[in-house]
Symmetry: C3
Subunit: 139 residues, 3 copies
C-alpha cells in the first residue's frame, strides 16, 4: 500500500471565501503515484469546509447568502461561543452545513470526479493562514 | 490491495426523488471480493446526494418538506445561479444539507451497517439519467 | 493491509447530548497498529451523528439551539414519520445537518487532526444504548 500526505495553505482576504482547489488535489494524486485508492481532503480548522460542487460564480453567491440566512454572523452576542472572546460562532455552524471533508475515488491514477464536480475550500472565518489536509492511500 | 469500481445509473420521474440503493451497493461489495475495507458511494452529479438513513415513507416525506423549507425551489429568480439559464439552484443547496457521499465499512465481506441504516440516492433535479459511483478498496 | 474494527457504546441521559470521543478513537488507532491509513468513525444509528468540531461548552449550546431552530422537535404531529408511533422525526433531520460520519487520516500511527479538531458523538434521540463504529484500514 502507498500513502501520501500534503498540507495546503490558504489565506482568504475576506471573512468568507470560496477557493477551487481541484488542481492542487489532482497534483497530489499524481505525486502519490497511487493508481487505485481513496483521496481524503479535509479542512484542518473547524471554521472552514471542504466540499464538492459547481465552480459557478452565481452559485457561490447563492451559497454565501443562503448560509448567512441559516446561521447569521450578527448579532454576535446571541451565540454563547462568542462569550469566549471570539466572534466566529456562525462560522462553526456554517461549516457543519457544508461539511468538513470529501473522500474522492482514485481510478487509473487520477481523481474520479463527475463532469461538474470541483473540490472547494470554503472559508467562514478567514484573514489568517489556515490548512487543508490531503491524505491518499492505495496502490 | 483489491479495488473495484462501478457506476450506478438513475433517472427519477419527478424533479425530486429518494431511491434505496442498499442492495445495489451490497452487490458491488460481493463482486469486489473485498473482505475488510472501505466502500465509498458518492453522487457524481452536484444536484444529488448519497446519504444513509431510514427507509420509511413518512420520513422521506418529512425530508422533502424540510429541504424545500430550508432551500425553496421558487421563486427561481432569487438565485443568481439561475441567471445562467438553469432553474436548479435550490438543488445545489439541498444536496449540501444531505451530503455528497457516504463511506461504509466492509467487514467479513459485507457492508457493516447498523440495524436501520439504508443507503439512499436523493435526487433534487431529476428527469434525466445521472450516476452514482461505488468505489471499494481493501483486502 | 491491516484492518481493525471496534464498536463504541453510548447512552446519553437526555434526549440530546454531545460527547467528545476523540480519546476513544485514538485508542483504537493505537490498538490497530496502523501507521498510515484512514479511520472511519460513523454513527450506527440514524438519529445520531459523528462530527468534528470544537470542544467548547458555549459552542455545544449554540449547536443545540441552532439545530432545534432548523428542525424543531415539537409539534411532533407535523412530521409524517411520527405517525409510525415515533416522536423522533426531528432527530433524523438534525443528524443530516451534522452528518453521519467522519474520515480521519492516520499518519505515523496517530490521528492526523488539526489543532482544535475533536471528534464528537452527537445524540438527538438518546436515553438508550446506541453504537458508533470505528473502522481502520492501512499499513
Amino acid at each position: 500500500m502507498r500513502s501520501h500526505r500534503k498540507e495546503l495553505w490558504f489565506e482568504t482576504p475576506e471573512r468568507r471565501g470560496y477557493v477551487n482547489i481541484t488542481a492542487d488535489v489532482a497534483t497530489e494524486v499524481r505525486v502519490s503515484g497511487v493508481q487505485e485508492g481513496l483521496c481524503l481532503v479535509n479542512a484542518m480548522h473547524i471554521t472552514a469546509s471542504v466540499y464538492i460542487n459547481d465552480d459557478e460564480p452565481g452559485l457561490l453567491h447563492d451559497y454565501d447568502q443562503w448560509l448567512e440566512g441559516l446561521a447569521p454572523h450578527a448579532p454576535t452576542a446571541k451565540y454563547h461561543h462568542n462569550r469566549t472572546g471570539e466572534d466566529n460562532a456562525d462560522a462553526h455552524l456554517k461549516r457543519q452545513v457544508m461539511g468538513r471533508e470529501v473522500v474522492v475515488a482514485i481510478t487509473r491514477g487520477a481523481l474520479d470526479l463527475g463532469p461538474w464536480e470541483q473540490v472547494f475550500y470554503a472559508e467562514f472565518d478567514g484573514r489568517r493562514r489556515k490548512r487543508v489536509l490531503v491524505k491518499i492511500i492505495g496502490e
